[in-house]
């Protein structure tokens, strides 16, 4: 599992690779929250293009960051979920709070 945090203007993009389970979630949560505290971002994007597996720990990470963004009137998006991952996202109902797009470009241009 790997991750990369990059800033595009006032958007923070979290790009993940591999399997998103409890092993990576603690470290990732700390790192994202540090960035969100340092600076007010308007958008937070979770890019899941390269994620092959997600469980409730990963979903909890996403929902927790959504609550933070929402409290600061920021927006959050998920992009590029594969069929497998999308099935779990839809099952959890997370898509009712965090919209899912096909690619980053679709959001950056909004």
């Amino acid at each position: 599992m790997g991750y990369e945090l990059k800033q595009v203007r006032n958007t923070l993009v979290v790009k993940l690779t591999g399997e998103l389970d409890m092993l990576i979630v603690d470290r990732l949560r700390k790192e994202i929250d540090k960035r969100l505290e340092e600076q007010t971002f308007k958008n937070l994007i979770f890019n899941l293009e390269r994620v092959s597996f997600i469980d409730s720990s990963g979903l909890g990470l996403i929902i927790g960051r959504y609550k933070k963004m929402n409290a600061n009137s920021g927006r959050m998006y998920i992009v590029g979920a594969s069929n497998n991952v999308e099935k779990i996202l839809l099952f959890s109902g997370i898509n009712k709070l965090v919209p899912i797009y096909n690619q980053e470009q679709d959001i950056i241009s909004i």
């Binding site: 409890m22 092993l23 597996f53 959890s92």
Partner: protein, 148 residues
């Protein structure tokens, strides 16, 4: 129902082993001639049960052990039991309610996933002794339902 294969896995309850456990049981399940989607669902429920043992059962101490016993039956059925010797669950009924979590940062999805993706789920728990979650799924049954 005859047992075709059986495996027992015991490992340290640490985050590093969650992916190890679900991959092992996923590979074991593949012997049942099921779809990749089926295997992904089995991996998810194993991930949920093992994560619960580590997170809740052992509360982050890195010295507890998790045991998984898995059996394949001749009618394309898999039975998986995940058990820990952790803190156990006081109120099982509450714990199994959808969206319930003892941790406000969590969504309470684990048991819901296990119940939804498996045909049977049975949880036995005793405070201070541990928790065992037995999960069962028949791929034959699902196929019959799909074609019915």
């Amino acid at each position: 129902m005859n047992v075709k294969n059986n495996a027992r896995l015991e490992f340290l309850g640490i985050a590093e082993n969650v992916s190890f456990a679900r991959s092992c049981i996923g590979a074991f399940t593949a012997q049942l001639d099921c779809t990749l989607e089926d295997i992904e669902e089995i991996k998810l429920v194993v991930s949920e049960a093992v994560s619960n043992s580590i997170i809740h059962g052992y509360g982050g101490s890195r010295d507890g052990r998790v045991v998984i016993e898995a059996s394949l039956y001749d009618n394309r059925t898999i039975e998986i039991t995940v058990l820990d010797y952790g803190c156990g669950i006081e109120d099982l009924e509450q714990a199994m309610k959808p969206s319930y979590s003892s941790d406000p940062a969590r969504m309470g999805l684990g048991f819901t996933f296990m119940k939804s993706f498996m045909d049977e789920m049975e949880v036995i728990s005793k405070p201070n002794e541990g928790t065992s979650v037995r999960l069962k799924r028949s791929f034959l049954l699902r196929e019959q339902q799909a074609y019915a």
